[in-house]
């Protein structure tokens, strides 16, 4: 009996171990700092997006390395490094020598945090998030896919321009990093020959904090904490002295002000229209085509998501109508009826493979959205190919401009054609994905993903067939989910590819290739 009790106890312990292990789940891209695949000495000559040239931002010449001030900065730095604590070491490891990735992850996390659709009030009305009263409720913003694409675009473009400017002055003034000035100072990361004045990390910290604060106004405390931690780790890594950082912060302030001035007047503030405007858009579509999309939620949402996002200023396309796709099929056409049969078939026969695809690409409420998903892929590729921060920021800038332009073009089509969703037209139809609050044609996932894939295929040619395959899978995932027609997905994929080409054409002539 006693023996049996021991055996039982042993079984118990083994079971507890089996069940409770494996609880370490990654919260970020795990990578150590690395040797950059290149330093891009001529990066200061590349074409920025918001300004004409890197030297448009003014940065004073640094003090000479032999000066008393610089020498005193060096000895202060040395003392600080000698007194480094465990938390500071953790921060240095966290930020790595490619903080573009970390600031992007912070953005994705804020998108996921704020990607919550406001629910109805007790009286069945809906209150929209209001930037002039961000606390709400509901809190501002609702970080839906268009909002996410725009936040990522401004962040990445401002980072890119700021780093072009930093690179310009780095190689103009050529002040080497403190660890190269003084052998007693060790560098926490892999050494490189990139001059340290102005600090590129400081540009990233300040630009990112400022742009993200404008996009997520309730996050001031968190963003300030992250900026402070990042700036301190730049010093304690042995890579920068205080004056390097101050010069970088100055570039960050100037560039983010330029970026946010553009954002303030890009049309986004009018994108979420009042009901009267929304109704007239719907009526115009009905008059033109004889159909209209309706929200089927209970209680009904009076206005779809950002009806005028299609009018927001694009990055690399003059006129959104120039890339508007062909009209969707008439509701009595053979093509349409065939699609109804396909959707019914998918709904009646949910295979494991189709369910997996529908869920993998869903990127719905509470997540980083499809634009965020493509940024996540880019982060992985950037680390894999050991890009330096400038080249990383370039990748993200073109990726996110193309994705935002794709979103604008998609939303133009959505509200111009105002095409109904499957649940509206097929009686009794049920879905395994959530039907969003905007018209069907074309599929946002398809357009965002195709645009993202094209830019990544341009920057990482070895990944071209991989990412294009992913984009097609993301597109069809919405059909498997039961919330899009197949032509929403196929036409949307073509649309995304076409839109991205405008951005890629700009990238090809920016001086980096």
């Amino acid at each position: 009996m006693r023996n049996r009790n021991y055996r039982l106890l042993l079984i118990v312990l083994v079971c507890i171990l089996v069940v409770s292990c494996e609880k370490e789940i990654p919260t970020k891209l795990e990578f150590a700092n690395y040797t950059y695949s290149g330093t891009d000495e001529n990066g200061g000559d590349w074409n920025p997006i918001l300004i004409d040239n890197g030297d448009e931002i003014e940065v004073d010449a640094p003090e000479d390395v032999t000066s008393e001030n610089y020498q005193s900065e060096l000895s202060q730095l040395k003392a600080s490094i000698e007194n480094i604590n465990a938390e500071q070491k953790r921060a240095i490891n966290y930020w790595t020598n490619n903080p573009v990735v970390r600031w992007n992850e912070i953005t994705l996390e804020l998108i996921a945090k704020y990607n919550l659709i406001p629910g109805p009030n007790e009286d069945e009305s809906y209150t929209l998030p209001n930037p002039s009263n961000p606390e709400g409720p509901p809190a501002f913003p609702f970080a839906h896919p268009p909002y996410a694409s725009r936040a990522l675009a401004y962040l990445s473009v401002a980072q890119f321009d700021g780093l072009i400017s930093a690179w310009h002055y780095k190689y103009l003034y050529n002040r080497l990093a403190p660890y190269q000035q003084n052998g007693a100072i060790a560098y926490a990361y892999e050494p490189n020959d990139i001059p340290s004045y102005p600090s590129d990390g400081a540009v990233l910290a300040r630009v990112s904090k400022s742009v993200l604060l404008a996009m997520f106004p309730l996050e001031g405390e968190y963003l300030q904490k992250m900026e402070d931690e990042h700036l301190e780790s730049l010093l304690l890594s042995g890579g920068n002295v205080s004056s390097d950082i101050m010069a970088g912060v100055s570039i960050g302030d100037q560039i983010s002000a330029i970026a946010l001035a553009r954002a303030a007047n890009d049309g986004m503030k009018n994108a979420q229209t009042p009901k009267a405007v929304s109704d007239s858009i719907k009526a115009a579509a009905f008059e033109r085509f004889g159909w209209q999309w309706d929200n089927l939620e209970i209680p009904v949402r009076p206005v779809g998501l950002t009806p005028l996002f299609g009018k927001v200023r694009m990055w690399n396309i003059e006129n959104v109508e120039s890339v508007r796709p062909i009209p969707p099929p008439q509701l009595d056409s053979q093509e349409y009826l065939e699609d109804v049969a396909i959707l019914k078939d998918y709904a009646d026969n949910v295979t494991e493979e189709r369910r997996r695809i529908a869920n993998f690409w869903q990127d719905g409420l509470g997540t980083y959205t499809p634009p965020g998903h493509w940024n996540r892929f880019a982060n992985e590729f950037i680390v894999e190919s050991k890009m330096n921060p400038l080249r990383s920021a370039r990748t993200m800038a073109y990726l996110n401009m193309a994705i935002m332009d794709a979103g604008i073009s998609c939303w133009d089509a959505k509200y111009y054609y105002h095409y109904p969703r499957p649940i509206q037209n097929i009686p009794g139809f049920k879905t395994i994905a959530g039907t969003p609050n905007f018209p069907s044609y074309t599929s946002g996932h398809s357009v965002f993903s195709a645009a993202g894939a094209e830019v990544l295929a341009y920057i990482f040619p070895e990944k071209a067939s991989l990412v294009r395959g992913w984009a097609e899978e993301a597109a069809i995932s919405r059909v498997y989910g039961g919330i899009h027609w197949t032509f929403d997905a196929t036409v949307g994929t073509d649309q995304g590819r076409e839109v991205a080409q405008y951005t890629i054409d700009v990238a090809k002539t920016d001086g980096a290739d």
Partner: protein
């Protein structure tokens, strides 16, 4: 089988003695299964009943549950996107007496979920087999105290998803999709007049469930398909009594569950397996065995969640049929046959 099968069942102890007498007196009963009674809510890993050695009790239960409100954090709300969610379960289960003081339990529920019409979300429900469960219950002590008897029991249980149902599809998911290891302690004190009280305390170690996406938010980003399902404490308090010569049992129960970690359901957002769940549930059950049919019992119960955190204000009603028989003849029975 000859002679009246006297179905006197006060507790497992009475029953096993009684049954042995019966089999001994019926010499020709060798290959015919010998039925006695077992119960749905009795004869579970959570109670103080034991199956006699060499007996199996199978049960088939049907449970109809639904909710139209749920707690988002501690805020009780309705949500017309899902309207009223129905959850129907068919529960096949078997209890096997290995020794008189060691029982084995096996279970495999089939669950079907869907929203009532109309609803604003138009989501498809889900159906399929949920988790396979296995448990061992051991009676450590039974002794008379005062004019009653104290029993102490312990159960170890393990459940794991039987199919690849999607746990990350709340509120329609069939279960939380993770393995669970449970360790329970049970104490019961029963008076001679049939009244009893019982307490149960359990700790539930829950593993991770695999979503079909590889990013989710749980008070921060997680870059993985694995979701940590929080461990939990589980409590039960029961007051019950036997009536009519121990053919009818009535119980009132309280069940509590409290996750030890986890996040809140976010505003107007779907629940997910990482949520911190807490509930208080009360219920009543009636159990009756039919004297006319040996081995057959019926049970009916109702329970409702009265307080909670990140969980549905769920109420459910169930009925079940139980059937008990002897799967191995006793040695002396074999001898009788020869």
């Amino acid at each position: 089988m000859k002679g009246p099968f006297k179905t006197k069942i006060g507790n497992e102890h009475d029953r096993s003695i009684h049954q042995k007498k019966n089999t001994l007196s019926s010499g020709i009963v060798i290959f015919i299964a010998l039925f006695t009674i077992c119960f749905v809510q009795g004869q579970t890993p959570n109670d103080a009943l034991m199956m006699p050695s060499k007996n199996i009790c199978v049960l088939l239960g049907y449970d109809a549950g639904q909710f139209n409100r749920y707690w988002e954090g501690d805020y009780l709300r309705k949500n017309e996107t899902i309207a009223t969610v129905d959850r129907n379960t068919i529960l096949p289960m078997a209890a096997v007496g290995i020794f008189d003081n060691l029982n084995l339990y096996l279970s495999l529920p089939y669950v079907k979920t869907e929203s009532s019409e109309p609803n604003g979300g138009r989501f498809a429900g889900a159906k399929g087999f949920q988790d396979f469960g296995i448990a061992l219950k051991y009676k450590a002590l039974e002794k008379p105290i005062g004019n009653g008897r104290l029993s102490l029991l312990s159960t170890i249980g393990y459940t794991t998803p039987a199919t690849n149902y999607l746990s990350d599809y709340m509120p329609y998911s069939l279960g939380f999709g993770a393995p669970e290891f449970a360790l329970r302690g049970i104490a019961q004190y029963q008076l001679e007049n049939g009244f009893y009280i019982r307490g149960m305390l359990a700790h539930l170690w829950r593993g991770t469930t695999e979503a079909e996406r590889d990013y989710y938010y749980n008070d921060g980003s997680y870059y993985s398909a694995l979701m940590d399902v929080p461990n939990a404490w589980n409590f039960e308090g029961i007051i019950g009594a036997w009536f009519f010569d121990t053919t009818l049992k009535l119980e009132f129960n309280y069940v509590g569950l409290k996750s030890t970690s986890g996040d809140d359901i976010r505003a107007y957002n779907a629940a997910q397996p990482t949520n911190k769940v807490k509930f208080d549930r009360i219920g009543a059950s009636l159990q009756y065995y039919i004297p006319a049919i040996k081995g057959l019992g019926i049970v009916a119960y109702h329970s409702r969640v009265v307080n909670g955190l990140n969980t549905a204000k769920f109420s459910n009603t169930g009925v079940g049929l139980t059937f008990q028989f002897q799967y191995l003849k006793d040695k002396n029975q074999e001898e009788d046959a020869q």
